[in-house]
Symmetry: C3
Subunit: 353 residues, 3 copies
């Protein structure tokens, strides 16, 4: 099969470690997690939503994780819990523990004088660690990474291949950064003068908190004067762009291709949808959801969901919608003319108020 070699676990051991109520034999062997559809013998599956109940009926999984309310939804061996999706996440972590490579500095890595690389670090080939850079205990750095002068990476950090950390940036503990991400390149700071652009040196840093995840090819610019800050527990998907001097509040998650322009502050516990864009120099409150592809142009002061999504339509329907949109001015005038012409109804309207 297509999966990594998980170790074998017994169902009873899983429940002992992760909790939940076990209905079924505790010695059932579980080798991996799988969706209801693709599961087979040796697989543990889960029901994340009642709409998949028919899949539950047909699954060949050896056991399933269910919400407490679904106790009678199957006769399969099952674990009942509060939140099957969270349980699945925990079980997946249990069955697929991080495989850390053996510690050591690869002979084809270059570590400059004055850099701190503890013995517990695994530094891949073709990495360059600049003067004064400091890596925490047990940091794992994939091949081809560049860690600039005086940059810091906290303990248990993991960098995928070809990640760039520019000088003086600070990465917290247990941060996971995927391939090709660029942390701390210059912000886009230009002053216009006589038709030309004068570059403004970007002298701030990027400061990333603990337990942050940063997706592949995501870019986070260093601050112009002050720092760009990504607080604890923030999760950034792939190809996200964070401008200079942005601050992203703790435990906010942003889906792929989202972008935040310079100096904007996003609150804590926000959820920013894929390809959403957020204007510069504004503030977003805590607990705000922005839907995918939406453009936020001004500050948002209250929690809630904000959107401006135009769903795709068949071409001909959309063409009519656009024509009507373009014709709104005329339509509005026609209504005005009618109102002038229909005096009685106009009077009636006034009387009602």
């Amino acid at each position: 099969m297509t999966q990594s070699h998980s170790r074998m676990h017994r169902l009873g051991d899983i429940v002992a470690k992760l909790g939940g109520e076990l209905l079924g034999a505790p010695d059932i062997e579980i080798r991996r997690l799988a969706t209801l559809e693709s599961a087979g013998p040796g697989d543990l599956s889960f029901l994340s939503s009642a709409k998949y109940l028919d899949r539950l009926r047909d699954t060949r999984a050896s056991a399933v994780v269910l919400g407490k309310a679904q106790r009678a939804a199957t006769k399969l061996p099952r674990i009942l819990c509060d939140d099957p999706y969270v349980y699945y996440a925990r079980a997946a972590q249990l069955l697929n523990p991080d495989e850390r490579p053996a510690p050591g500095i690869h002979p084809q890595a270059v570590v400059e004088a004055g850099a701190q690389v503890p013995e517990s670090v695994a530094l891949g080939p073709f990495c360059h660690v600049g003067r004064g850079a400091r890596l925490g205990e047990r940091v794992v750095v994939g091949p081809g990474c560049v860690i600039g002068e005086d940059a810091q990476i906290g303990e248990d950090g993991r960098l995928g291949p070809s990640v760039t950390i520019y000088p003086r940036c600070v990465i917290g503990k247990r941060v996971l950064i995927h391939a090709g991400a660029v942390i701390g390149a210059d912000g886009f700071g230009l002053a216009p003068q006589a038709g030309r652009w004068i570059k403004i040196p970007q002298t701030g840093r990027v400061v990333v908190g603990d337990d942050v995840e940063i997706g592949a090819n995501t870019t986070i610019d260093r601050g112009a004067l002050d720092d760009t800050v990504i607080e604890d527990g923030v999760k950034l998907d792939n190809q996200i762009q964070i401008g200079h001097n942005v601050r992203i509040g703790a435990h906010t998650a942003m889906a792929a291709c989202a972008g935040v322009a310079g100096s904007t502050r996003i609150g804590q516990h926000c959820a920013i949808g894929g390809a959403a864009r957020i204007m510069g120099h504004i503030e977003i409150a805590d607990h705000v959801t922005v839907t995918a592809t939406t453009f936020v142009t001004k500050s948002i002061r209250s929690p809630g969901t904000y959107t401006a999504v135009l769903p795709a339509e068949p071409g001909r329907e959309w063409a009519r919608t656009i024509a009507h949109l373009r014709g709104l001015e005329r339509l509005s005038k026609r209504v005005g003319e009618l109102e002038k012409g229909s005096k009685p109804s106009a009077k009636k309207r006034k009387r009602r108020k």
Copy 2:
């Protein structure tokens, strides 16, 4: 001139290899292809659309490729064929054959024990090939690529510089991947619990079919449990983002900056425009065209073109459009009032039904 050194070909040789009807001397020497505007002696050009007929009149090309219907459109030496654009593609392949570097493993590449790298492979400097990875015959890997443990690349594959293939991903035959692409980084799998995000290990793979092209800095996430699948002949432009567990059907093409959220299935022979976005967990039928920048929010069951494009307007016009759009509720109420007031016409409407 600015072009690579094509070898010289005679017009007759080109027709012998690629077909078409030659009107003109077969011994005319052709050194390169060029647009009608920039062509000069020694260049073969082509007329892809009747709207460029005036450029044909002025071209200095030594010969041109034309559709059969354009036989009399010029007196230049010419090749008549069914589809000049396809002919141009074929001729360009003939005149610009792939230059494969000499095979061999660069002394500054690192190949881990148990990796299979055939003698016909050209592995560039600063590449890292993980344990158990398998490269097919004649694969060319540019400098700085990282090929993870147990990953596979089929025969005649070509990787530009700094490409990352994460562990266990499978790349088909004759696949071309441009610089900076990242195949198989973790999907964005998070379970929310008590205001924090729990990471869901991503244990699936990316499986890429044969004859696929993947653009620069494009990212394709590995599956959460099952695989992310890119079928044969798919063409992905630059900076595309493909979420976990997506399946893209054979021969579908996606232009730059498009994005597909997790678990969505796109059919075969689709054309997805630049910066188009496709919601997660939906299905797109075969032969669907999505226009550039459009956001597809729900499944599409029928072939055709789908769109929601808002074309740019001069700022003042757009401001009025937006104001009218915002005023639609009021306008609608005003029309309702008028209808109430104009009883006769309301009656008339009913009578007609």
Copy 3:
């Protein structure tokens, strides 16, 4: 503090070098620049807009840069000038001069035979310079860059880590390219034939002028036949995508995540907002501003601002807007019915004309 170690300057020296009128003691020591809010002793700050006058009142900066009209806005030591933001840019350049690494070819870089790398060049570890490539005087290349065969980089150019320059591309003088940028990968050239895509070899180049800046993970495709051209002084932010055969006019700036499809020509001195998209095969005049996220679908012949921004709204309001938008056809018919019914007013309308 968080900033790089600027050298100490005296206020009088700064004015001597950059101009402006000094009100205050010329021997005040300035160590760095800072915003009004974060400044402390030893810092020079600036007032870029009258809306920050309250911050000026509270600042702890040792001196400030002000517009001439603000002469009396503070009693702090101050420099009066025409454009405080430009002055700040110049002062920042003065206080934070580029730190060029010591010249030399790192022993773990690979330079192929026939490449020209002057002694004044600093070539980082794990760089690969192809046959025939030519680097100008004082070029600085970060770790892990790949410079293809016959590519050129003009004098005083600077490449961040992991930049790829594909073969034969030409980069001008004093060009700054940030990490992960890819210059000269294949354009997206495909000819459809019988349900498959035939690749069109991309034989043009990318030609970049002088004084250009290119952001992290930005991609610029090589031309299909002719070149893709980025003229002098163009500034491109991160994650921008430039298609093949595009030409971007001198001194145009594009914010992050913007994209330009193939063969489009953008004029000089344009400002393209973040995530704006520009259709292929069109022309944009000089001095055009395109707002962030706007999609330009056809040529723009006159200077000015062009937009189609839909600002985010609270979800419920947007749902109503969309419903009304979808209902426009019906609303329009209702107005038509009213017009038919209200003959008198229709007559009146005619009489007025």
